[in-house]
Amino acid sequence: MAETAYWEAIRRAHDEEMARDPMVIAMGEDIGVAGGTYKATSGLFDKYGETRIIDCPISENSYTGIGIGASMVGMRPIIEIMSINFALLALDTIVNAAAKIRYMSGGQLECPIVMRTPGGTAHQLAAQHSARLARMFMSTSGLRVVTPRGPLDAYGMLKSAIRSNDPVIIIEHEQMYNLKEEIPDEEFFRPLEGAEVIREGTDITLIGYNYSVHLCMAAAERLAKDGISAEVVDLRSLKPIDRETIRKSVEKTHKVLVAEEDEAPVGVGSEIITGIMEDCFFALDSQPVRIHAADVPVPYNHKLEKAAIPNADDVYQGALKVMGKI
């Protein structure tokens, strides 16, 4: 076991998979000579050369498309998009091509690409660098969307994503790249499907994904001091969603809160709560609550930004509301 930062975990997964399989290549802006905006490919340009660590011009739609084309003939491209905001430029090739080629071809072709991108707010990056957008990708048939909460999943899910035969979007987070966790030294994989109960509890289920898992964990600590036992579920995968794990937890606690960093309308929380209504409505003994961002473009001003984006206290207060304590 070694303490590993999130970015190091990603780098290690790249390195091992590229050493194993010459068909694995990485593409993105500044990932080569410059070592990567988040250091996720640092040192790999020298090791694997410019034909495998490919520095791309600022042409998101087309280099993602080139990765998709290459994946159709056996390559395993890992595409880094510097920020999920810029992934909007590649929506055509991701949503109209990668997600649909297997289906349109009647199963003859596949697009085993991995697209990694940070989605989330950092500090005062303002409206055009703070998109989260998980909800946009999770609504597209033919994609897998995963959200590693820490180094263990960042490494293990990237390894799985590279080997899976489907297009996988990995949503990382600007504020998580330096997060550290002990991870095994020997190779391991973490599956792309399956939510995980990361803290057991009996009174309320707090559901999060990506960064909001950490808000749920912090809120659960505080709730424990109040004598409330919160269970925390990390969704891990937003497409497909593991409804079974959610149902089991809700049937145990009878209360639920979903925390997302994105705006709420047509969001992750809407989908999760609808699923709960369909799967275990009668298990609930209070109204579910969604904790989410305000329905505004993310402001630059730090006070406004703080007011727009949910934090651990919001999750805590929301949980008290579900518990009928406020």
Binding site: S62, G69, A70, M75, Y103, G106, Q108, G142, N165
Partner: protein
């Protein structure tokens, strides 16, 4: 080219024309639905270019990709015509098992990598196919057929640039038929000569040729394909052509004149080539008539029959082919608790 090849190529072009004519009828009979874009008038381009490429040899083929006007490109690359027709009929025996339709013909066994409806989307996909071929060192090239209108998409510029800096073995074939649906090129495009848009801008070799004379197409395509394969660099080739029918089925062609149509019909690629072959004594008018009869019989008695008689996909298989049907649990799950 020997006489036998000349006869074969003429027959192919007539076949393609008749095939498209027959899909038109089937559409009118409501056997075919959705959008249907026919290739009539442009036959010399796909036939001539692909004649010079590696096609019809299965997985050894060059990679071919195009837009929604894709039936003929698929067939010339090696897709069986009856499977293409069955696809138009939405049948399980179709090229894409009835899931794709007219605009999405795929034949992975012949490296026909698909028809795509989003104008300009195939540019980067083609460059990616070329990147894969180069990486694997297979000497295959990628050939991307698109229209003049597609060149106003961002993907055109982005991809020309990357194909050029990365020396990707891809041939971009611009089928300049002068129109993007009903908009004449002069009204949409600052530089109407498409080949001029890449040479200095993206430092890529390019040229423009008559797309109605198959022999000219073949000569130009040979040079371009040799260059792409041997130099491992991209090439942009533009063919001047014309589509004889409307953009798709519901097109009254109000945007162009009868005179213009008549001018281009004189340059019908099938007429030009037939005339040449008759003048050279390779065949007679009567041979062509016989050819047409044979083709019509084949289309009716084999191709249409196959499409008509084939089963539709099963509704129980609605959600097949969305994701990998046989995923490896080590990568996919479930998560071990």
């Amino acid at each position: 080219m020997n006489d036998a090849d000349k006869k074969r190529l003429l027959r192919e072009m007539i076949f393609y024309r008749r095939f498209e004519d027959r899909t038109f009828e089937a559409y009118m009979e409501r056997k075919i639905g959705g959008f249907l874009h026919l290739y009539s008038g442009q036959e010399a381009v796909a036939t001539g270019v692909l004649e010079m490429a590696v096609v019809g040899k299965g997985k050894e083929n060059d990679y071919v990709i195009t837009g929604y006007r894709d039936h003929i490109h698929a067939i010339k690359t090696g897709a069986p015509p009856r499977e293409v027709m069955a696809e138009l009929y939405g049948k399980e025996t179709g090229s894409s098992k009835g899931r794709g339709g007219s605009m999405h013909i795929f034949d992975a066994n012949q490296n026909f990598m698909g028809g795509y409806a989003l104008v300009g989307q195939p540019f980067p996909l083609a460059a990616g196919l070329a990147l894969g071929a180069k990486h694997k060192g297979t000497k295959q090239i990628a050939i991307c057929f698109l229209g003049d209108g597609a060149n106003n998409q961002g993907t055109f510029h982005e991809t020309m640039n990357m194909a050029s800096i990365w020396n990707l073995p891809v041939l971009f074939v611009c089928e300049n038929n002068g129109y993007a649906i009903g908009t004449h090129i002069a009204r949409s495009t600052a530089q109407p000569s498409q080949y001029k848009r890449v040479d200095t801008a993206y430092n890529m070799k390019s040229s423009q040729h008559d797309g109605m004379d198959i022999e000219e197409v073949m000569a130009a395509a040979k040079q371009a394909i040799d260059y792409v394969r041997n130099e491992e660099k991209p090439y942009f080739i533009e063919f001047m052509t014309y589509r004889f029918r409307g953009h798709s089925m519901s097109d009254a062609k109000g945007y162009r004149t009868k005179e213009e149509e008549a001018e281009w019909e004189k340059r019908d690629p099938i007429k030009i080539f037939s005339k040449k072959l008759i003048e050279a004594g390779v065949l007679k008018e009567a041979d062509i008539k016989a050819m047409e009869k044979e083709i019509d019989d084949e289309i009716e008695n084999d191709i249409i029959k196959f499409a008509e008689e084939s089963p539709e996909p099963k509704v129980e298989e609605l959600t097949r082919y969305v994701l990998d049907d046989n995923p490896d649990p080590r990568w996919i799950g479930p998560l071990q608790k």
